[in-house]
Point group: C2
Chain length 559, copies 2
């Protein structure tokens, strides 16, 4: 018995495109003798459709395409994820299509409504287990959160299912895979001898990034090595799993010829060298960021990209990623030096652009600064130079980038990282300008690791960019450390405070000074207004800014 | 028997401040012989606390202050709204404090998770009705959504309650009051002869605005006129309701001496003239906008405000509102003319500033434009002038405003309206710059009505600002109608499409041309990326942009 798993990369709202994608996978499944085709959670409409779900016609159109797929492939069983309306309620459902009809429906029972999820905003919970028979074997169905709550899986077990198919749209988080798999293994170990088929979608959608990494496994008590399979991260593919042998699963991968269904990084990093775990995780993260940017750009039909290249590490990494997404003539890096821009920055920016072969422009902003200085001369007299003057420089740069983007119908890439976003070390309407912020959830220390990974085989990012003390270069001899703790320390505090939710009091117990903790916590709180006006970027940690973390701007809570 | 209703204006997270506010109201209640003091939903922490609710210490501190209030006022029954943790679950609760302790607890049963609400993200639903006895009478408790779902009220009725106390944090919507009241009246009419006491909070919190408008009523079958009382909108006050007479409720209002607890608009509009309904609604809306801005500014400790005065109607209305919020020396209007700025705009801006007595600056931007033009001269050669050039002007203005705000530690007020926000007729990082966007949910046609209301007694906004054809003045002889339908038509489409959720197909059935509908719907969809980076502003319609309407940016749904 062969089952085909389609790790498809749906486009939210593009029902026709998604339906065609499912049909192409049905063709592959057919050709390879698979009897069942499985597609991810809400595969037909993309995940998350958000308030599109409140539109009646959106739900109607999903039904239309569902039937269209069913009619076209009467001979193969196809599992499709879609929203379903019944008695004025909406469900997050999967339908088993067979013989030209909807043969079986299962409604998701556990609706996540935490973190980035808002499923209770839209859906009602299903009440019944989903079961179907195929060739005398009992199959059970689950959707994503169903498997993370105690109950639905155990119920299927009681019903003596032999195969559990769990379809997902489960967002990527750095280093989550192993933990996730172990939890499920421990649960399985208490159950009958069943096969778990866990299928996840692949692709980027606004703030979310789905990593695939589908797997097939059995309870640990068996010799699972030969019965466990991982599909890998960020590769949209079709996996034909043959369950006819008792002692192993035979896997065939089909991933060519589909849009988005190819490995997007042409191996600049040699995977065979990835002996140490951290390097491998960083390599996968980089792959994920590439996919996130690629999908944002392609799904929004953006052709040209612009970014400000400062000579620092963030814009260097963003430029590298962008250079893999669009062709070189569609990517323009602009260095906009002021009198505070060091020669090192100018040289390194130029070198990097040349290494990557992208368009490179130098637009000095000293004249622009002068005009603004003259504008404020009288009103700012005697007040000394400060943040206002620094922000003016960042905003001139933002303006220049936006002018190019507007003129050539392109998009500016924001280059800020999570550490900056956390403490507001950024200029709103200045360096925060952009349509997509690929490093938004990547802490600065991780940006360095990515840069090292990019440089692993050959120096692409000039080494000095990585080695130099980070500086915004907005005033004389400025370095980030003048205003902030070292990024090693800052990122530890951010991890504990933002991602793990430790309070000020608890942070002090971790050994950070009270003064430092108070400063960081205060900066995080008072920067909320900036983050609200920031570009979206993909969640890659356990708690990202954006829909994952919803703090009031007006917030007077203090300890 | 006297009950004191405290329409308090809590500050989210400022538990000490809120506790003190409740204590002051307890003093008032005591002094006026009230036996029960009622405060709104989540009065102790403010509504909505959002992800602060996920912090353990936040919940602990709420408990601490709850006990502090109980101990200080052992003789009066005080109803306080607060989050409550029990067995690792969180509830949206009210406690009845009496004799120094928590005497009774009620957990909200119906948790709204639609529109602007995310209560299922945080809270578990209560399962039991809330009942207490006072002087031999049975009281029932409800929290906000409890009264809008069939069930909890009817259950209290079965338990023979004589008084139902429903505490709320129910956001304002234009013209919602009467409908809301009628729905409840119809429900009451099917019940026993009970008294309903409906208390709502007052104040602004980020995107939300609470209007008070508490009421007391009985089922309609009685002669309700003498037994019905409305507190009015946007006045934070303490209402002492004496229920000792059978045929009427005796009301005493106490609203002096509390911060935020005064009527904030010193009657520039004579309420006695408000004979026609629409004028009265607009007058109340204006009051609400004043409170929303005042609360955002004061609760965020912002001292100085800056805005760009274009000579158009939006910035005129925003300036009027701001002039009532901060003292005149803390408010600066800046006119930033280019060669496209008409004499009428310059004259009217000046006149308005002088009418309001605020700081007024003229900063021509022609020189700045020239520098940027020179910057792009080569690269934009032969491409003609367009949006890029228009945006440059708007962005220079944004930069100038931000420089003042940064230098003087103030905030820029964004001046865009809902019609512009809907179709993206605005420049991101240009005229969209600002910390708060008071007209964000106010359609352009309503902005005109507000302007007329402001001018009702005397001309404050020069009449020409109201009468002139709206224009962005970003190029030669430009008027909004060149790019958009008339605002009368656009606002009707926006009302139907955004607020009432009618699809493109349905809009055409309303009689709008297919071409126009397609254009507007497309503009709404493609402007989502701009709205995501826009400043917050108060929801005043049934569906506002922001947390009320959550659309994907990457969205390919088309009909």
């Amino acid at each position: 018995m062969k089952i085909s798993l389609a790790e498809i990369n749906s486009k939210v709202g593009d029902l026709k495109y998604n339906a065609n994608l499912i049909k192409k996978h049905a063709d592959i499944a057919n050709k390879n003798g698979a009897e069942i085709l499985v597609t991810p959670e809400l595969s037909l409409c993309g995940y998350p459709p958000e308030d599109l779900l409140l539109e009646k016609e959106f739900i109607d159109r999903c039904h239309y395409y569902l039937i269209e797929i069913a009619e076209k492939f009467p001979k193969i069983k196809i599992i499709v994820g879609h929203p379903r309306r019944k008695n004025k309620l909406l469900y997050n459902s999967i339908s088993l299509l067979y013989r030209g009809k909807i043969n079986k429906v299962y409604d998701k029972q556990e609706l996540p409504n935490y973190g980035v999820f808002d499923e209770k905003r839209y859906f009602s919970p299903g009440k019944k287990p989903g079961i179907f028979k195929h060739k005398g074997k009992i199959f059970g169905l689950l959707i994503c959160e169903d498997i993370w709550e105690m109950g639905p899986l155990e119920e299927l077990n009681k019903l003596n299912v032999e195969y559990v198919i769990c379809v997902n749209a489960s967002p990527y988080e750095f280093n989550k895979t192993k933990n996730k798999f172990n939890i499920i293994q421990n649960r399985l170990n208490k159950l009958n001898d069943l096969n778990l088929i866990y299928l996840n979608s692949v692709g980027g959608q606004d703030e979310l990034l789905f990593d695939g990494n589908s797997f097939i496994t059995k309870p640990k008590k068996h010799n699972v090595n030969n019965l466990t399979f991982f599909s890998g991260q960020f590769i949209s593919q079709n996996i034909i799993a043959d369950f006819s042998k008792k002692d192993h699963i035979k896997i065939t991968r089909k991933c060519e010829k589909f849009p988005f269904h190819r490995k997007i990084l042409e191996d600049p990093i040699d995977q065979r060298d990835s002996l140490n775990k951290e390097r491998y995780l960083i390599y996968n993260l980089l792959n994920g960021l590439l996919l996130a940017m690629k999908d944002y750009v392609e799904k929004n039909s953006i052709k040209k990209l612009f970014l400000g290249l400062s000579g620092g590490i963030d814009s260097a990494v963003v430029l590298f990623i962008a250079s893999k997404i669009v062709s070189k003539e569609n990517l323009t890096a602009i260095m906009m030096p002021s009198k505070f821009t060091s020669k090192a920055s100018k040289d390194d920016a130029k070198k990097l652009s040349s290494n990557l072969g992208v368009n490179y422009k130098i637009i000095p902003i000293q004249k622009h600064i002068k005009i603004f200085e003259a504008t404020f001369k009288n009103d700012f007299k005697g007040l000394g130079k400060g943040i206002a003057e620094q922000n003016i420089q960042a905003r001139i740069r933002g303006m220049i980038l936006m002018a190019y983007a507007n003129k050539f119908n392109g998009m500016v890439l924001a280059t800020g990282n999570k550490s900056e976003m956390a403490v507001g070390y950024s200029t709103i309407y200045g360096d925060m300008v952009g349509g997509f912020s690929i490093l938004k959830d990547v802490p600065k220390t991780m940006v360095y690791k990515i840069a090292n990974e990019i440089n692993y085989k050959e120096i692409i990012i000039p080494q000095r960019i990585i080695d130099r003390e980070p500086s915004a270069e907005l005033t004389e001899n400025q370095i980030d450390k003048d205003s902030l703790p070292s990024y090693e320390i800052l990122d530890k505090i951010i991890d504990l405070h933002i991602e793990k939710n430790y309070s000020q009091k608890e942070l002090i117990k971790f050994g950070f000074s009270r003064k430092l903790v108070q400063k960081v916590v205060r900066l995080v709180k008072t920067s909320e207004f900036k983050r609200r006006q920031s570009a979206p970027g993909p969640k890659i940690t356990s708690k990202a800014f954006g829909k994952d973390r919803r703090y009031p701007i007006t917030n007077k809570f203090q300890l």
